[in-house]
């Protein structure tokens, strides 16, 4: 079944760019240009995800989102905004958005976040009881916090383990640097240097040195993906 995404964006060029990109990624996309129509469409309850601009004519994005939530629609929402300071991001997240992305953005960043939100919505409610994650020949024991590849233990530092667990929970998806900064370190600013890449580099050496196939892949222009070698 095709996933359906509602895009509420008043700028026609951005809306077209989003619709085209998301359609190419295999989603069914519907767009509208203002908050009232967005609220009306979302109330039908047929969408799996809502992507909304923060500043919309009629009803602004956050108010629309509040109204949608009040109507009992729990589809995840991603807010897009030109307001990019740290406080704007935190405000947006506090106002009920599941994710917040600043314009302009790389499409790779958006699609990674869309995919992560879809995956999270799919996850069964009893997920908390999961005791291990398996990605190809990699196995993570969530209780003992240990990692083994091809049956051999891989010793990781506490932070390296956190990163790997996050990647494994999004196995097969692209995870961007900013997503990791937000979710693992809880920073909403851009450090401007390659700090995350260096962490990933170390983790990759521990996961891949001495093994014959890569498992932590770099996706150019977007981020990283944990997946068995194709």
């Amino acid at each position: 079944m095709t996933r359906k995404i509602l895009v509420v964006e008043d700028d026609a060029a951005t809306a077209a760019y989003l619709a085209k990109g998301l359609a190419e990624a295999g989603y069914g996309v519907e767009t509208c240009g203002n908050g009232r129509d967005g609220l009306f469409l979302a109330s039908e309850g047929v969408f799996d995800l809502i992507v909304a601009d923060r500043m919309l004519p009629g009803l602004d994005g956050l108010a629309m989102l509040a109204a949608i939530r009040a109507a009992g629609i729990s589809a995840p929402a991603l807010i897009l905004s030109a307001l990019g300071t740290v406080d704007d991001r935190i405000d947006g997240l506090r106002a009920g958005a599941d994710d917040y992305l600043c314009k302009p953005f790389a499409f790779g960043e958006l699609s990674a976040r869309v995919e992560a939100l879809m995956r999270r919505a799919d996850r069964p409610a009893g997920d908390g009881k999961q005791t291990s994650l398996v990605v190809g020949d990699l196995e993570i024991d969530l209780l003992a916090r240990t990692v083994a590849r091809q049956g051999r233990q891989v010793a990781l530092g506490a932070r390296e383990y956190n990163i790997l667990e996050y990647l494994a929970r999004h196995a097969g998806q692209v995870v961007t640097r900013t997503m990791m900064l937000e979710k693992i370190w809880n920073y909403h600013f851009d450090p401007g240097s390659n700090v995350v890449d260096v962490h990933i580099g170390r983790l990759r050496r521990k996961l891949e040195d001495g093994f014959d196939s890569p498992i932590l892949h770099t996706v150019r222009g977007a981020g990283y993906r944990l997946a068995p070698a194709a």
């Binding site: 990019g84 300071t85 600013f189 450090p191 240097s193 700090v195 260096v198 580099g201 222009g221």
Partner: protein, 448 residues
């Protein structure tokens, strides 16, 4: 109805002048009135007593003689009459019939004495005493007093006229004076409004009166506006100027991509183009952040342990610092009390300092991250062993878009330290740049 300021001032002055002159006229009138009555009473009582004692010693013939002596043909206001019991005059001068009924012994009284001319309607002060079967009436009409009253009425009229004239004059003078001083201030405001920021209001009374205080305040405000406009101009100028270089780089990359011969070269140019765009976006976000933090309230502050902020950053940066062949030393004073801090912005500021150290002091030995407390302030220090910044250059390094000569060849927009400075000021603290001998020691000192 709107009345002009001048008219209102004139009215006020007229009223005040009228009140003061009428009050004094009334006091004078009252005083003279009382004096005149007192004098008349004294004369009347005295004369009556004299005549009564003449009668007692010599009877009617002596009284008649005394009355004849006392009367003066020229004086038609005098009353010296002997009346029978019906009030008819039997001797002397005065009304033919006294209008006072019934006759009784009166030491002094004021009333109309008779109904025949010339007594009709004129008041007199008189005394009545019994002399044998008759009554002796002595007194005088109040004509003197009435004359004075006329005079006083004229004076009142004059003073009203005078009050109106002086009121109008005062109104005109005061409006002219106030108007001139206010107009001078208005002229300056108008000139400044038209763009001449150098204009200032002159003070006249050495800053003593209300107009001068207004002028001094206004001048201070104009000073501040002039400074702000200057700063704004400088920022927009430098913004326009400093955005040129990243835009030029963007354009160069785009041109390279469009001229690229093969796909690989185009791909490389395009990815450079994206990287340049990101740099520029970051620059704009930082600029916004700097502007925002200058005007932000403290409602975003949360109680955070100062050491924890530095420890988290150290953890994030440790691999990158090692990669840059520097050794990381973390020195956190134990047991520091939580402080009210903006965790994200302070972290970003410290991250900027660490980034600077990574960029400008690479392979320069130890990088120290320290949190301590002294002189009532939490101190967050990032110290490197690089080239440092000369004391003379420190101000330029903190300025928005300020880039030191030797940093121009490195990537960056000259906003890092200025954001750090803005964040320090948001926390009520300051950024201190010091010599680490060798290297740079940058400290955000936050009181509290």
């Amino acid at each position: 109805m709107r009345v002009s300021f001048t008219a209102r001032l004139a009215l006020l002055a007229i009223t005040l002048a009228l009140i003061s002159s009428l009050a004094s006229v009334f006091l004078i009138w009252n005083g003279i009135h009382n004096d005149a009555i007192a004098a008349l009473r004294r004369d009347t009582v005295e004369q009556a007593q004299d005549l009564v004692s003449v009668y007692r010693s010599g009877g009617f013939p002596a009284l008649s003689e005394a009355i004849d002596q006392a009367r003066d043909p020229e004086d038609d206001t005098l009353i010296l009459a002997v009346l029978d019991r019906h009030g008819r005059r039997v001797m002397g001068v005065g009304p033919r019939f006294a209008a006072i009924q019934p006759l009784a012994s009166t030491p002094f009284s004021i009333a109309i004495p008779g109904h025949s001319a010339p007594w009709t309607g004129r008041e007199a002060g008189f005394a009545i005493h019994r002399v044998g079967r008759y009554w002796l009436m002595t007194g005088r009409l109040l004509d003197d007093w009435e004359q004075e009253q006329r005079t006083i009425e004229r004076v009142v009229g004059l003073s009203i006229l005078l009050a109106i004239v002086t009121g109008i004059a005062a109104g005109l003078v005061v409006t002219r004076f106030v108007g001139r001083r206010l107009n001078r201030i208005a002229d300056v405001v108008e000139a400044v409004g038209e763009g001449d920021f150098a204009n200032r209001v002159e003070t006249v009374a050495g800053g003593q009166d209300a107009f001068d205080r207004l002028a001094v305040r206004l001048n201070a405000m104009l000073d501040r506006i002039e400074r702000l406009v200057g700063e704004l101009r400088a920022v927009t100028d430098s913004l326009a100027h400093d955005l040129r270089s990243p835009l030029a780089r963007l354009r160069a990359r785009a041109e390279q991509a469009s001229l690229a011969e093969d796909d690989a070269a185009r791909e490389a140019a395009l990815s450079d183009l994206l990287a340049e765009t990101d740099t520029m976006m970051r620059m704009l976000t930082t600029l916004l952040e700097i502007g925002r933090s200058a005007a932000m309230g403290r409602d975003r502050f949360v109680a955070v342990e100062p050491g924890a902020i530095m420890a988290e950053l150290a953890e994030l940066y440790a691999p990158a610092i090692e990669e840059a062949r520097m050794t990381l030393a973390v020195d956190l004073a134990p047991g520091l009390a939580p402080m009210a801090l903006h965790r994200e912005l302070l972290s970003q500021a410290l991250a900027n300092l660490i980034d600077n150290a990574l960029r400008h002091a690479a392979a320069g030995g130890a990088l120290t991250l320290a949190v301590s407390r002294s002189a009532g302030a939490g101190r967050f220090t990032v110290a490197d062993r690089g080239l440092g910044i000369e004391p003379a250059d420190r101000e330029e390094a903190v300025r928005r878009f300020g880039r030191l000569d030797r940093a121009r060849s490195l990537p960056g927009a000259g906003l890092g330290l200025s954001l750090v400075d803005a964040v320090a000021r948001l926390h009520g603290g300051r950024l201190e740049l010091a010599d680490n001998a060798p290297g740079l020691s940058a400290t955000i000192a936050i009181p509290g």
